[in-house]
Symmetry: C3
Subunit: 431 residues, 3 copies
Amino acid sequence: MIGKQIYNFLKELFPICRSIMGEGNRETLRLIQKHIPIKIHEVPTGYQAYDWEVPQEWNIRGAHILDPEGKKIIDFKNNNLHVVGYSMPVNKEISLSELQKHLYSIPDKPDAIPYITSYYEPHWGFCMTDKQRCGLKEGKYKVYIDSSLEDGSLSYGELIIPGEIKEEVLITTYICHPSMANNECSGPAVATFLAKWLLEKKRKYTYRVVFAPETIGAIVYISKNYNDLINNVIAGFNMTCVGDNNNYSLLPSRNGDTLTDKVARHMMNNFVDSYKEYSFLTKGSDERQYCHPKVDLPLVSLMRTKYGTYPEYHTSLDNLDFISEEGLAGAFKINKLCLEALEHNDIYENCITCEFKISKRGLVPKNWRSRHVDSNYDLKKYIRDMMNVLFYCDGKNDLIDIADKVNLSFKECYNHVKLLCNNGVIKNSRK
Amino acid sequence: MIGKQIYNFLKELFPICRSIMGEGNRETLRLIQKHIPIKIHEVPTGYQAYDWEVPQEWNIRGAHILDPEGKKIIDFKNNNLHVVGYSMPVNKEISLSELQKHLYSIPDKPDAIPYITSYYEPHWGFCMTDKQRCGLKEGKYKVYIDSSLEDGSLSYGELIIPGEIKEEVLITTYICHPSMANNECSGPAVATFLAKWLLEKKRKYTYRVVFAPETIGAIVYISKNYNDLINNVIAGFNMTCVGDNNNYSLLPSRNGDTLTDKVARHMMNNFVDSYKEYSFLTKGSDERQYCHPKVDLPLVSLMRTKYGTYPEYHTSLDNLDFISEEGLAGAFKINKLCLEALEHNDIYENCITCEFKISKRGLVPKNWRSRHVDSNYDLKKYIRDMMNVLFYCDGKNDLIDIADKVNLSFKECYNHVKLLCNNGVIKNSRK
Amino acid sequence: MIGKQIYNFLKELFPICRSIMGEGNRETLRLIQKHIPIKIHEVPTGYQAYDWEVPQEWNIRGAHILDPEGKKIIDFKNNNLHVVGYSMPVNKEISLSELQKHLYSIPDKPDAIPYITSYYEPHWGFCMTDKQRCGLKEGKYKVYIDSSLEDGSLSYGELIIPGEIKEEVLITTYICHPSMANNECSGPAVATFLAKWLLEKKRKYTYRVVFAPETIGAIVYISKNYNDLINNVIAGFNMTCVGDNNNYSLLPSRNGDTLTDKVARHMMNNFVDSYKEYSFLTKGSDERQYCHPKVDLPLVSLMRTKYGTYPEYHTSLDNLDFISEEGLAGAFKINKLCLEALEHNDIYENCITCEFKISKRGLVPKNWRSRHVDSNYDLKKYIRDMMNVLFYCDGKNDLIDIADKVNLSFKECYNHVKLLCNNGVIKNSRK
């Protein structure tokens, strides 16, 4: 159900031609706005963010190649990957050999159109399948790109969902990839539905959800929100490659030892058949900014199949068939489980010295302990688990620590804790 | 020899009908008193200890079942496990189907009488072998239990053996189990002889030896001695299941990292062929009180076969044949080794900068180092070990740390340290 | 090339008859002085150093054994191992059975002359191959040792090579072994050439290079330089068994966790096919003094085949054939790599928040990131490595930590850091 909703939304986002700046990005943000009340920010060309400067805005209306016989062999309308991102306008007739200098294809993947950009170096180019490229004949080709590069602004969306406390959980994703599904329509789509779910629930933490172009967008965002991020963010999740149904993957934070790493590993270990934890050295998404040592947020990526590790990556084969409702739903669920756990991840301590008298508090059938012979296995396990949870409520372990120690899922652990709290056996150490 | 002494004492304890309170417990404590000068404490019905209240005292004079032909098929005299502990008095004729509601047996163990109690819920019942139960015919049965439940007191024994310093080692065991041998006549029997041995030796630490009913007794004891326990106990040993000769087992403390855990592991690793270390999550004895996070004493159980892991557990098959002199002697020894090590587990430091001149101090034959060819292997190993011990006497490692680091037993390590101390090469850092 | 130079120098040192004190040691130090300006110190007989006293000086002019037929079967001139070190003078005729009490050989190694000394117990003796010893016939033997034991002095060489800062790196080796090649002409020979190299380079650290007899020499040296060593030495290397070409071995420091251990392991892991790390418990060289808990310098031995682990050890078979130019060069290199790394092992931190814009700083071809399809693998790996280094420049990790974290050699890591520093992307945290 949630998978279908996300998939349908992703289908709307898919055809739009996005880049780091331009109308496609604004259209994308407006579609997101139909679901959640993000605020759209515009940052003008020339804005300085640390080592970077917001470049000119790129917009494209159409592009094609005519072969020597005048036949349109490439049309931007068919696939926006056909044009190198940030291509300068061009309109001329050139020889095949001249054209080859502006063509991109992948010999190993003859049916894939590659995804190529040239944000900061003036350039124009076309991408096509290697199969098509190999069939090109000698002659004069007409190349036409109706694009513009002009002062404009970088657009990003931001939603602050207030909670009881000012400490924040950051959810970030990027909106700069054109028509590819896993990397990266899945990130904004799943992030939108996570935000939607958060808006409807009681929240302890404040949530900050950011939709920005990768790299330059993240850097601009950090530059405008540095102090808030540094002071408030207690956990962060980067949404990328959350659409396919093949694997689960974790990219930990820089040192791999934050609260977010802990909750991510717990959920992966408890709710997924298997997953792969990558080294931070294989980073490649916006953790390059959010986990930079001078920012150093506790941010991880809980992905399906990681960027760069599947053959369809950064090509036209990363399409709507590569992802699935199940894939999106699985990613949504694992990230949601982490958020839920963080909301309840408190530290508890015992109120009563020695074991409490379980029978008198109505938590179990009377006299359960004495008459083992009568006890059924489930009840015995239930009571043993409850008592094990109790023993690690010592004012030091948080609930994720306890769940890991007593071999329960966070939720089972939390259910015991709620019951014990309600019965006055333990209390929240922070209150 | 020590095994035989303990076994003979255990045989005296075995037939007595014990429960959490009652005359059987007092008789048990008086038998212990014949060996060691414990003080017997009485805590009246109604006493509040944290979440618990001392219940009424249970005493039983006899019990039986007559079958439809008037034949006595169950008699309490034959085995005190036949009556559910804390059974209310009863004297009536009932149908077999009514009787079945009050019978306990174990289908999987047709020859075993189970051990069942009902301390805090009014109830009566009989336990028998499943074989006998299956042979019961329809008809009227006469059930008779001549018991009483009246205000009285909970009895426990306590022996404080003073040492040079007020820091304490706690030895605790329980006296509430009726006629079962490993769990639990072995605990009180071994604890008695450990105390006897302690009384006769020079002691640094003060020793606190406690004989109380499980759970309620431990909780009452903690409630009456909380500050002393918390402030003084530096190590603790729970005596349970120390009678059979099948395995060695260790139940560590709550976090498994205390001084007691360290000495216990060292001794298990050095003096036992193999042993099993259980997770604290499998706790089931009085560490549930002494290791509760609000008490948190450094207490472990060094057992033979752990409660709950052998088929005879909590049945009439846990009898005098299940345990042995060898089993008791092995448990006595491993616990005694720990106590001996703790007594000598000091921190030492070097007095002399650089290696001392071993030949001039008469610790070895003259000029041993130079003429390797002459040295025999044992001497070379002896000197190497001595020097290795020396190198970790750095004012930080205690002797157990050093023994583990240099791959010696505590005793070998201590022998080196004594010699080095006597020769002025090292000194006790605490003095 | 360096291997040949060291080998040639070692050949000069090899024939000299050294012991803990005597003319042979002075001759050795004077040969070293031809390469590096060591200062030769003399410490008189009777000097007290902690538990030790400098003994009398031993000098020997000649020695032989004549068999019953008057044939010279042993001559000191042929091999200085033939005489037990520190042998008293003797000149008499004795029976074979009397002679046997003063003979040393190794039955397991029938062709080896053992290396035997008797520094602190008056004694005389001869060493020979077991083959020769077994062939001795009954009769009268003439034994002659022209030696002297008189008040004199212990000689050691010391070179302080000043650096920019007073923190020191210690290099120590010993000069008391007579004609054996790996243990121990290789140590002084490699140490000499390391010092020579250090003299010619720019240095941050001050270097202290010590050539002294083993044990008594090290102890005397420590006693005369205790405060300087304790206060200044940040890393230390013991040169022993650095001549053969069979293995690489590491003897770590006492607790195995110092800066020297870290750099040694890094270099072994990165520049050697395989190596063996021994336990400190197998210590046997001057770390017995420098790593003694009251001295506790961060000193390791990076060896080829460790003393005591090869059959030629401490016999005449540890000769010029056992070692090689390659063996010496390998040991020189691994120790030099450690020294080089220490010189540059600083802590760095980022100057720029978020990733710097790599293309604008000329570190890579323009727009490298966008057009993946164009990038060649080497460039991508180079940039990824640089960025990984950048991410661990956090003001906490030193460069060895970073190299280990990002799976680069120290040198590769340092090259990235230099470039990043020069471009203002990172800075040295200590400056």
